[in-house]
């Protein structure tokens, strides 16, 4: 069913797309291993959405406030889909998973937990994550798990825009002034060590990838990094040579910031459980 035909010059429907509520109420319950996979992907989106939302009211211009706010909302949307689906395996809601799990239960990579830093560093993080997410969701659309495939299909359209946003700014900062290029380069260099964690295979992803449910993280490295390198060079900057940070397994053991992000994100829900508008 489509609402599009009802739209007029002054009246616009929301259109039709998958929703977190549908996933939560859906007939397809996630198997345990699929839920663990969805949880890790959802945690990445949730943490980055939370980090990015800090920029609202602080970006260089009002328009950029809204652009980053929009991207943050898209990411929280992806987190809602993925956590809702993961929750079907354990009888837990998206909110329970987002607000009532402890630090060591999260599975996000450190790249998305990294501090915003200046605008250049935030753009560096957007570049790395959105280029990865584009490759991930492009392939996850073919997942044998119908819900994951539907989520990927929806998320991909949004990630396409996030990629474009990051690349536009990369070019403008890289080819802008001496100072903007210096800061953009610094952001790229500082976050580079955390990129390989995105491509780390583990006991959840290996068997699921064999079944065609998950995308094997390591298989995304070559296509993602080729495009990231090309984008950096196109912007007149240097591909970083900084090494890889230790402990890249999503466990959070080596994570510096996860606890601080959760403290802020979860405090309201924990203080007033079940609160609603």
């Amino acid at each position: 069913m489509s609402f599009a035909t009802n739209d007029t010059a002054t009246k616009h429907s929301a259109g039709v797309a998958i929703t977190a509520e549908e996933i939560a109420a859906g007939e397809q319950r996630a198997p345990e291993d699929v839920a663990r996979y969805a949880l890790a992907l959802g945690d990445d989106a949730l943490m980055l959405g939370q980090r990015l939302s800090w920029w609202i009211s602080r970006a260089p211009e009002l328009e950029e406030d809204i652009a980053l706010g929009n991207i943050a909302l898209d990411l929280v949307g992806h987190a809602r889909f993925l956590l809702s689906y993961a929750g079907t395996a354990w009888g837990r809601t998206e909110d329970e998973l987002a607000y009532f799990r402890d630090e060591e239960e999260f599975r996000s990579v450190r790249l998305v937990e990294a501090e915003n830093g200046d605008f250049g560093r935030t753009i560096a993080r957007q570049l790395y994550y959105s280029f990865y997410a584009y490759e991930l969701y492009s392939r996850l659309r073919e997942s044998t798990d119908a819900t994951l495939a539907a989520i990927a299909d929806k998320a991909l359209k949004e990630v396409l825009y996030h990629q474009d946003h990051a690349e536009q700014w990369l070019n403008r900062l890289g080819l802008g002034t001496e100072e903007s290029a210096r800061r953009m380069q610094r952001g790229l260099d500082e976050l580079w060590p955390y990129v390989p964690e995105l491509f780390h295979d583990d006991d959840v992803t290996r068997p699921l990838a064999e079944q065609g449910v998950a995308v094997l993280p390591s298989s995304l490295e070559e296509p993602t990094m080729t495009r990231i390198r090309a984008a950096i060079e196109e912007a007149g900057l240097t591909v970083p040579t900084t090494g890889t940070a230790r402990g890249g397994d999503r466990s959070g053991e080596m994570s510096e910031y996860r606890g601080y992000i959760l403290a802020e994100m979860q405090s309201l829900a924990r203080r007033h459980p079940g609160a609603s508008w």
């Binding site: 007029t8 010059a9 009002l62």
Partner: protein
Amino acid sequence: MSEIENQAAQMPAKDDTAANNEWPLWEVFVRANRGLSHVHAGSLHAPDATMALRNARDLYTRRNEGTSVWVVPADAVAASDPDSKGGFFESPQGKSYRHATYYQKSEGVPHL
């Protein structure tokens, strides 16, 4: 790289005073559906045309409003003078013969 250089050429002429540190202003036109015209939706600041289109998408098509967006440097819009409203817009008043409804339907004309 050349794309960015092109962008600079598209940028509206900038006033180089120190006070003018803001991005230039753009007017945004959104078309809701095929077959309709682009309608002025509002304005925004952006460093160049490419970013103006993206900002327009974020500001004015969040609720499924658009299938096409135009941005125009605000400087490029020539506007009628609000003080000359009388001479400009009030002359058609009372000229009802300019409206189709003024005319009586002639006998025997079908499909009117």
